[in-house]
């Protein structure tokens, strides 16, 4: 990673820690992947495929 980008990431992480409060935003956590993967077996297969891809 370029040093300038690493510095920007570090600065943003520092700013995040200093800002403190978590903003309230309504967001449904559902995604199409949530709808498709419904069992532990499907999830295990998906993670296996993802790690092998």
């Amino acid at each position: 990673m370029k040093k300038t980008i690493a510095r920007k990431v570090a600065a943003l992480t520092k700013k995040a820690k200093e800002q403190g409060k978590k903003p309230e935003v309504n967001l449904a956590t559902s995604s199409s992947l949530h709808q498709v993967i419904k069992t532990k077996e499907q999830a295990a297969l998906f993670m296996k495929l993802l790690k092998e891809a």
Binding site: M1, I5, L12, A16, K22, E24, N26, S31, L33, A53
Partner: protein, 195 residues
């Protein structure tokens, strides 16, 4: 959203608000008409119930009820700067959570294709930081119908299949991915080698 996007983490909008866990950030984008609109980048609080390290990333303006509208159609003056800022927020989160995956829904085919083209055009740059995957959902054919009116597809039996997105691996708009996943590339972590 026809303008070609050039991702550059050195040219970003200022991230004005950010939560301590880096799951919420916001910045102001300038629209084509000169108006400014606050955009929120939100990583889900909880991972997928069955995929403990997969979190959903959404972005967009907030509506009147304070809900993130990830289907809003805005005409940004600088798409490159907008998407660079969104992906930089994702990069910062993954640097802090290197074992996590971030997923983005291609809410419709046109939008998914736009994301895909942006990833392809910026592959060399993004590949230094992320592993990128496109996920297609495959439906099982349960039987071939006797007539053309019989539905042979079992929509309860779907396999999500991830493909690594690579530089020279074109996918047509008609066969576009349903979902995109990112994680941090080994060696891409801050302080790592300049690739």
């Amino acid at each position: 959203m026809a303008a070609p996007v050039k991702i550059n983490f050195d040219i970003l909008y200022e991230i004005e608000k950010i939560s301590p866990d880096l799951k919420f950030s916001s910045f102001r984008s300038i629209l084509n008409n000169g108006n400014e609109v606050p955009l929120v980048v939100r990583i889900s609080n909880q991972s997928h119930a069955l995929l403990p390290n997969v979190y959903n990333l959404s972005f967009g303006p907030l509506n009147a009820k304070g809900k993130l509208d990830d289907k809003a159609e805005l005409t940004h003056a600088d798409y490159s700067k907008v998407f660079s800022t969104i992906l930089f927020s994702a990069l910062a989160y993954l640097e802090t959570n290197p074992d996590h995956y971030l997923g983005i829904d291609g809410s419709d085919n046109a939008r998914a294709y736009f994301y895909y083209r942006a990833l392809q055009r910026n592959y060399a740059y993004l590949d230094k930081h992320f592993r990128m995957y496109g996920v297609k959902y495959y439906v099982r054919i349960s039987r071939f119908g006797k007539t053309q009116y019989d539905n042979p597809f079992d929509f309860e039996d779907i396999i999500p299949y991830p493909f690594r997105i690579r530089r020279d691996d074109p996918v047509s708009q008609d066969h576009m991915y349903n979902y995109f996943i990112f994680n941090l590339k080994q060696g891409g972590k801050a302080g790592g080698k300049n690739q």
